[in-house]
Symmetry: C2
């Protein structure tokens, strides 16, 4: 066993070979006094993983093991760690480090730190931290600063909790930052991994929730997830009954193809925020002030969420019995190929969780 110097995981070597996973050992960053080592037992398969390995978001540090919806056990904690206990069941999400000193970091906006931003996979650590490229959760272990390691409430099953670490938080943070709650009409665009959490959490927060999708094919699912209403944007005049009525829309769409932004914006009440969390690979939309003038809508984007929001979200999920819709698949060359190929085609309702880590890497 290479651990604790190395971990073992499934890496992709190039965007051209994005379905070919290679099981290899790779170096972990040097163990720091605030670090926690997590032995991984499950990992969600995030849309980001596919955008990354296919090159859709640009060039990457290959070879790379992706995966940032990690559940496991804290098997070693650094001498100064106070937030996590050895043996605890924990999660790790998409971010693994920030400076901790700047205004953003001190103000629960660590996902917007301008100084150091280490993603859980694919980021090169500064030389003083060892200089390695971070490797994600399609592997046996991750080594992460305690501030990005989260205790998992007992009531949440491992395979249900895993996808919450990125997709769940990505949906939850803009909801709570923009007042989703009783008396508010909230729209969730795009019923995929993030969007299905948008519906679950907006409902759990007490809002009136509308799913907004290209067709009615997912209407039944949306209702089961808790949606109060459903809008299909392939229908004529779909936007007209809802103009000026939404207090918040979280746009979780993974693609902007054929997206008529003006119609979506017309749904918003005066000055209501339209916040994107999906990061399509396509070119952007041309916007001029005139397009925003009829209702003074605010267009924004949201990046993950804070530590506090992560802990609150996990507790809310435990308290309300919120369950991710998960299809389990065993980690391995074949399972990973199937997972990323199907996710690329949106052929999943609504998240894969990788399991079988003991079989792949030993107990």
């Amino acid at each position: 066993m290479p651990y604790p110097e190395e971990a073992e995981g499934f890496q992709i070597d190039s965007a051209e070979t994005w379905t070919e996973f290679h099981k290899r050992h790779f170096k972990l960053k040097p163990f720091g006094e605030y670090d926690v080592d997590v032995k991984i037992s499950a990992c969600g398969v995030c849309g980001s993983d596919v955008h990354t390995i296919t090159g859709g978001w640009g060039s990457q540090h290959f070879p790379l093991a992706v995966g940032h919806e990690i559940l496991g056990t804290a098997i070693r904690v650094g001498s100064k760690v106070t937030l996590i206990k050895e043996g605890e069941r924990v999660g790790v999400g998409a971010q693994s480090f920030s400076c901790g000193e700047c205004k953003q970091c001190k103000n629960e906006n660590e996902t917007y730190c301008p100084n150091i931003m280490i993603d859980t996979y694919g980021s090169k650590w500064p030389e003083e931290y060892g200089g390695v490229v971070s490797q994600g959760g399609y592997s046996s272990h991750v080594r992460t600063n305690e501030r990005w390691v989260f205790p998992i409430p007992e009531k949440l099953d491992t395979n249900i909790a895993a996808p919450m670490l990125c997709a769940g938080l990505t949906a939850y943070s803009p909801l709570v930052r923009n007042g989703a709650g009783p008396g508010k009409k909230v729209g969730i665009i795009g019923l995929g991994g993030i969007g299905h959490f948008g519906i679950l959490f907006a409902k759990a927060l007490g809002a009136e929730v509308w799913a907004i999708s290209r067709s009615r094919s997912k209407e039944e699912d949306a209702k089961k997830l808790g949606a109060d209403g459903f809008i299909a944007t392939n229908e004529d005049d779909w936007e007209k009954p809802h103009r000026f009525s939404f207090d918040l829309i979280v746009n979780c769409a993974n693609s902007s193809k054929g997206f008529d932004l003006a119609k979506y914006l017309s749904l918003m009440d005066v000055h209501a925020p339209f916040v994107s969390v999906g990061l399509p690979e396509e070119a952007g939309q041309e916007i001029k002030a005139q397009n925003l003038l009829s209702n003074g809508v605010l267009i924004g984007a949201s990046h993950l969420g804070s530590r506090r929001e992560m802990l609150e979200m996990l507790q809310l999920a435990a308290d309300k019995g919120i369950k991710s819709w998960v299809e389990e698949i065993d980690i391995g060359e074949a399972g990973l190929k199937e997972a990323v190929t199907r996710l690329k085609k949106n052929d999943i309702k609504y998240r894969f969780t990788l399991t079988g880590y003991d079989k792949a890497f030993g107990a």
Copy 2:
């Protein structure tokens, strides 16, 4: 004298002849029981007037008398008018009617009414209101619903107050709607008619105010207006010292030529709003969610302001002795030609107020 069936004013006949004003009589809308007739004594010359008569904002209902920064006297009030007394000194701004019944109208968002939006000039009234095209303040009288007629505090001089009716309110509303006040760092982009009010009002509201301009040519003016700091965007790395530092920016720029939006957005603190009030004639900017992600900035636009905001702004200006920077010019074919020609070239610091109405139209 044609009044009260008609008013007399200076009209433009086409975008091709936008500097040729023709003095003519034209029909007023039928007098309604909530209407107020205003005998005009002064009118500001707004950038909108030039965008309109030059065709920069598209085709118009010519012949047209523009002008929507109107000061005058209420010489006749309808039988149901309660907000305005006959003989009172009053102002009229850029809007003259909305439905009054919808959520927006009832929620002090009458500038976002989706049902009826009558601009002070250039809007065709529905047939039940007479069907005429509204004519603005380059004329002897306007007839306006009382909700868009505003008593002017005694301490405000007529020629100083006039430009506040559109430019002033346009700057004031996004400031107060987005928390400009003590402890907040506010940026005002574009030192023109609206922008100079942005500095005056942001300062009066207690914010730390930075003027953001293309060069340093207006720095001395900005400081006199009350700016605490000045940023010239033709200097290298101008944005770097200010990244993540602004709580609000009101973009008053009248043109988006050479505007590097990403640099401006990088100035914003996390989730801080970047609100445009200028409406450039050029094409928009391509935006994708990725551009908004480093700080979660919100991009918006703001349209005029509410009745309550207008009254508060005028009182604030009276209480604090705020003075528009005004160059007076007599209304008439020559004066109007000079005013719109110089405004088109930004050759004015920072607003023309048209005077001499008695000479042009009789006392």
